[in-house]
């Protein structure tokens, strides 16, 4: 190793970023607890986004100046890889919740199991999934569910296709076919945006027609937890890939040096795999 590892001298973005995160979270807390302060929250959010913009801009500039060697590239790869692993564990907690509720919590509430005393709380309760009638009658459950073979199937096709188109774009970039890479990346972005629009339509229908709401008992809770965080991650992915498109248009990336693009692609495939899990366990089964 050559001793060329680049250690930036100083940077104001980390400290400013921490402060921005603090303002944003305090603002959100004040909104939730006291019902005021949305301006603080908005300012904090804008500040967080601004810091991300400038921090990433510094990294892009340094990368374009050729300050990063192969070892730095591996640092980024390890960093992104372990970050995605942490995201997998985040979703694992939510999938575990879904599994636990369906396999243990609801049957136990229905009196199953060695102890079977939980049934004393709500003797009339019958376990079912999706849970249409929560034990406590003051909580009104959903009266209908989203059919997996309509909008969710369409969305599955969108996301799976987008993973393929992104791979085509990546291969093209590696071959030096920049126009092809650009075009397939645009197709990917359109598919991602379509997914988000369809998800929005689905949420609207769930809330207005099916009675699937956050406070409709555990079915609504898990439904929105899993699909909501997934949708949020798709949004991050779309923004990331949009930045990659802008960088391609500005002439960034070479055939063998484009880890930012690759990291975005890793993230996109991760979001896609999570969706497959959602489609199977939230919608189909």
């Amino acid at each position: 190793m050559s001793g060329s590892y680049y250690v930036p001298e100083t940077s104001k973005w980390p400290a400013l970023g921490s402060a921005a995160v603090g303002v944003m979270m305090i603002g959100l807390g004040v909104v939730l607890v006291h019902g005021v302060g949305s301006l603080i929250m908005a300012l904090g959010t804008v500040a967080v986004l601004a810091v991300m913009w400038f921090w990433f801009r510094d990294v892009v500039i340094e990368s374009r100046q050729g300050l990063y060697d192969a070892q730095m590239d591996r640092s980024f790869r390890w960093g992104m890889g372990w970050f995605i692993f942490s995201e997998i564990m985040f979703f694992a907690a939510f999938f575990g919740t879904l599994y636990y509720v369906r396999t243990f919590a609801l049957p136990w509430l229905d009196g199953e199991g060695a102890k079977g005393i939980a049934t004393l709380l709500w003797p009339d309760f019958t376990a079912s999934w999706p849970l249409m009638n929560p034990p406590d009658s003051s909580i009104s459950g959903p009266h209908d569910i989203v059919s997996p073979w309509q909008l969710p199937l369409v969305n599955t096709l969108f996301l799976v296709t987008s993973s393929i188109t992104l791979t085509v774009s990546h291969e093209a970039l590696k071959e030096g076919l920049r126009a092809t890479a650009r075009n397939w990346l645009i197709v990917t972005l359109v598919l991602g945006a379509c997914f988000l629009i369809v998800q929005g339509v689905e949420y609207y229908e769930a809330y207005t027609h099916y009675g699937i709401t956050l406070d409709a008992g555990i079915y609504g809770s898990t439904f929105f937890l899993l699909t909501g965080f997934h949708g949020f991650h798709v949004t991050i992915g779309v923004v990331t890939l949009a930045v990659m498109l802008a960088r391609i248009l500005k002439g960034h990336f070479s055939r063998d040096d484009h880890f930012a693009f690759e990291a975005g692609a890793w993230y996109w495939h991760f979001v896609d795999v999570v969706w497959i899990g959602l489609f199977l366990f939230v919608y189909v089964f």
């Binding site: 590892y5 980390p14 400290a15 607890v33 942490s86 609801l106 406070d215």
Partner: protein, 551 residues
């Protein structure tokens, strides 16, 4: 440049090159960046960030300690004397949260920041700006957490485990802010852990294989993996709490089809690996100090690595032992009882290896060694009481008594905290260029040992006699034990002021330390000058020629 030098002992060789560099640039006294507070806000240097972490951790240690002393003062006698039960609950909760997330974890990250690049021959951490971000999130998180004390309804009062529905349906309004502070601290931990893993896997000096790494590096590699695996689960469970509190969901509400027991599963799936997060780096520190002062290589290096990995894997399979009395199927209780007891095997391997390293060594008893030896003895006591708690029928009796409090304080105070203190004494010469005051250090050690045992040993007895945890008042028969515990607590707390005195003295001056400050110290950090210059190993040392020293 390295291969051109004549062959010599690799450690001396790297001394020569780095010392030479330091003279060349004179960067040991010269600092080109901004001065004053901006230097600390903007820094990307692993040594400066390490110091920030350690100072932050020490201040949290004292704040959390004051909360503990409020608890001990109230428990000095039966009856309510000083505080109201509501405030007492806030004190036990905040004590636990601050000590776990604010004191112990940042202290280990601080040591990792300082020492891992030095021990693997790297110029800095792999991602220096991210490193600074990880640190500066912590003051934000804990400022927010401490501010809940002044909010209407008071601070969190449901214990550091924040079980639902105590924290969701019955918690104070500040619970939402508590959740956000944990989110921020969790982001800090995950980013810090990613950085540490990337540093260890990617920044080792050429020729340093994985099995050449010092055990502190190995234990941190495995700890960082645990952090990345479980901190997101904590983030998930507190997010579900947040939604139950603010958005009407039913995750932990049986009335909506959820389950409060689900909270406990998710929390302890995080919480059990978390206790190993707080002890594995301690194993690494002790595995550095014991061979140094026994002047023998560590016995069973490879088995130490495998034992650490086994503990980490098992840590994902034991979480239910925290929930034996919650009402679970018998098969689950049996499975988790046996997996828990299995952890005694790799832990036993470690204790055996430390003791065997001591066997026929030329032992001297400098302060770091004293704390390490106390660690081995008292951590083992805490391990044994853990084995007792692992037995399901016995745990039905011990659960939620002071026996549990005694157990986890034995593994955390003379366990994790003593190891951190030992590490600080051990590496202070490298950080400051001066030896810590040995006489004050000994006073600090003996008062701490006496204080810790006076505080926590009687809790075994009061617990076995049936005294419940987290209660501000108690039956008369526990009065004597509690009085002893309280006196011990104040002794331990006061003796930590000596630690501060040692630190200040050592930073200001004292006996000058050479590069290799301890006679038996062999790792790479002792090849750079003391105090370590701001930038070290800008050109990585070549470790290929180094004879295998560990096995």
């Amino acid at each position: 440049m390295a291969p051109k030098l004549p062959p010599q002992h690799p450690l001396e060789h790297s001394t020569a090159t780095t010392a030479g560099q330091a003279h060349e640039h004179d960067d040991h006294h010269h600092y080109g960046g901004p001065g004053g507070i901006k230097r600390w806000l903007l820094t990307t240097n692993h040594k400066e960030i390490g110091s920030l972490y350690l100072i932050f951790s020490l201040s949290m240690f004292f704040i959390g300690g004051i909360f503990a002393l409020v608890v001990r003062a109230e428990l000095f006698q039966p009856g309510l004397q000083l505080v109201q039960p509501e405030f007492f609950n806030q004190m036990t909760t905040m004590h636990g949260l601050i000590m776990v997330f604010g004191a112990v974890m940042p202290a280990f990250v601080g040591l990792a920041n300082w020492m891992i690049p030095l021990q693997v021959g790297a110029p800095d951490m792999a991602l220096p700006r991210l490193n600074n971000f990880s640190f500066w999130l912590l003051p934000v998180a804990f400022g927010l957490l401490l501010s809940t004390l002044f909010m209407p309804g008071g601070a969190p009062n449901f214990g550091w485990t924040f079980y639902a529905p105590l924290s969701t349906d019955y918690g104070p309004p500040s619970t939402t802010f508590f959740i956000f502070s944990l989110h921020i601290a969790g982001i800090s931990s995950i980013l810090g852990a990613i950085n540490i893993i990337a540093t260890i896997l990617n920044m080792r000096a050429p020729g340093m294989r994985m099995m050449d790494m010092p055990l502190f590096v190995w234990t941190w590699l495995i700890t960082a993996f645990l952090l990345i695996a479980v901190m997101p689960v904590l983030a998930g469970v507190i997010t579900m709490m947040l939604m139950d509190i603010n958005f009407g969901t039913s995750f932990f509400d049986a009335g909506g089809g959820g389950d409060p027991v689900l909270f406990q599963h998710l929390f302890w799936f995080f919480g059990h690996p978390e206790v190993y997060i707080m002890i594995l780096p301690a194993f690494g520190i002790v595995s550095a100090i014991v061979p140094t002062f026994a002047r023998k290589p560590l016995f069973g290096y490879a088995s130490m690595v495998y034992a650490t990995a086994s503990i980490a894997i098992l840590s994902f399979l034991v979480w239910v032992h925290h929930m034996f009395v919650v009402g679970l199927p018998l098969a689950a209780e049996l499975f988790f009882m046996y997996t828990t007891m299995l952890i005694a095997v790799p832990t036993g391997v470690k204790v055996f290896n430390w003791v065997t390293t001591l066997f026929r060594g030329s032992i001297t008893f400098e302060t770091p060694m004293l704390f390490s030896l106390a660690f081995i003895v008292m951590f083992t006591i805490g391990g044994f009481s853990g084995l007792m708690l692992a037995i399901v029928p016995a745990d039905f009796q011990y659960h939620d008594t002071y026996f549990v409090v005694a157990h986890f304080h034995y593994v955390l105070v003379p366990g994790a905290i003593f190891a951190i203190i030992a590490g600080v004494y051990y590496w202070l010469p490298k950080w400051t260029g001066h030896y810590p005051d040995e006489r004050l250090g000994r006073w600090h050690f003996w008062l701490s040992v006496i204080g810790v045992n006076l505080t926590f040993f009687p809790m075994h007895f009061s617990g076995l006699a049936g005294m419940p945890r987290r209660i501000p008042d108690y039956a008369l028969q526990f009065a004597d034990f509690n009085m002893v515990s309280s006196l011990g607590g104040f002794l331990f707390g006061a003796s930590q002021l000596l630690f501060v005195a040692v630190l200040i003295k050592c930073v200001r001056g004292g006996e000058k330390a050479p590069a290799k400050a301890w006679e038996g110290a062999e790792d790479l950090e002792w090849s750079v000058p003391s105090p370590a210059p701001l930038h070290t190993f800008e050109t990585p040392p070549d470790m290929t020629s180094q004879a295998p020293q560990r096995h």
